[in-house]
């Protein structure tokens, strides 16, 4: 299961998608909306996605996990729209015979999701301002023709 949704994520959808009699472990990860970013109060987050490409890229991550760990049951779901503090934005489930591979594969899935899955996050601050999140200190709004080392985290 690889899905972009506007519905509340419970985790059951991804757990049920991967469960099976040969699993000795199901590793389940939730990403949740935090109330601050580096100390600045966050009111809510707005997520936007390119759904068909996002679901295709999630399936490719599962294929990578199959090649690296031999695990064939991976599920990912990401919510879009406005999410309040504490709500689940993303859930990943990985079933494996043993927990070590499951934990590693689940971490890998999230790391890759943040690299290649076309989803964007906009922070709405408690003071009413809002801005698209900039990864790795890459600046969007100011003219910055060249990144320097000091701008890379």
């Amino acid at each position: 299961m690889f899905k972009i949704t506007t519905e509340v994520i419970t985790g059951e959808e991804v757990r049920e998608a991967v469960e099976g009699p040969d699993a000795g472990a199901v590793v389940l990860f939730f990403g949740t909306v935090r109330n601050n970013t580096e100390g600045r109060s966050v009111k809510c987050l707005e997520y936007e996605a390119y759904p068909p490409m996002a679901e295709k890229k999630m399936a490719e991550i599962a294929q990578e996990i199959s090649e690296k760990w031999g695990l064939d049951r991976v599920a990912m779901i990401h919510r879009v729209g406005t999410l309040e503090i504490g709500e689940v934005s993303v859930a990943v489930a990985v079933a494996s015979p043993h927990r070590k591979d499951g934990f590693e594969a689940c971490k890998y899935a999230m790391d890759r999701l943040k690299q290649i899955v076309p989803i964007w996050k906009r922070e709405v601050w408690a003071d009413g301002e809002a801005e698209w999140v900039k990864p790795d200190a890459v600046f969007f709004d100011a003219p910055k023709p060249h990144k320097t080392d000091s701008q890379i985290d």
Binding site: R34, A54, M110, W120, K121, W132, V138, H146
Partner: protein, 84 residues
């Protein structure tokens, strides 16, 4: 040929539309689209270092040649998940 171009996140905001149809000459590449957008939004060039492009849901480069009916997207740096 005609292609669909989709804009997300900051690109959607700056261009004030989420997608459009574009008529392009044969042999056009993504670069052709970017040059057209530059006329409307010159600052887009500042994003090239970090922005990616896709054709039919697969990452592509500015040199990728386009075909009739392709779906092209400008992909600002992705920030899905949590805890950036």
């Amino acid at each position: 040929m005609n292609v669909t171009v989709k804009y997300f996140a900051v690109c959607h905001e700056m261009l004030d539309r989420s997608e459009e149809e574009m008529e392009l000459p044969d042999g056009a590449t993504i670069q052709t689209i970017l040059e057209r957008l530059e006329e409307e939004w010159p600052e887009i060039a500042e994003f090239y270092e970090v922005m990616q492009m896709s054709v039919n849901w697969e990452y592509a480069t500015e040199h990728t040649e386009l075909s009739e009916g392709d779906e092209v997207a400008l992909i600002p740096p992705v920030t899905g998940g949590c805890d950036v």
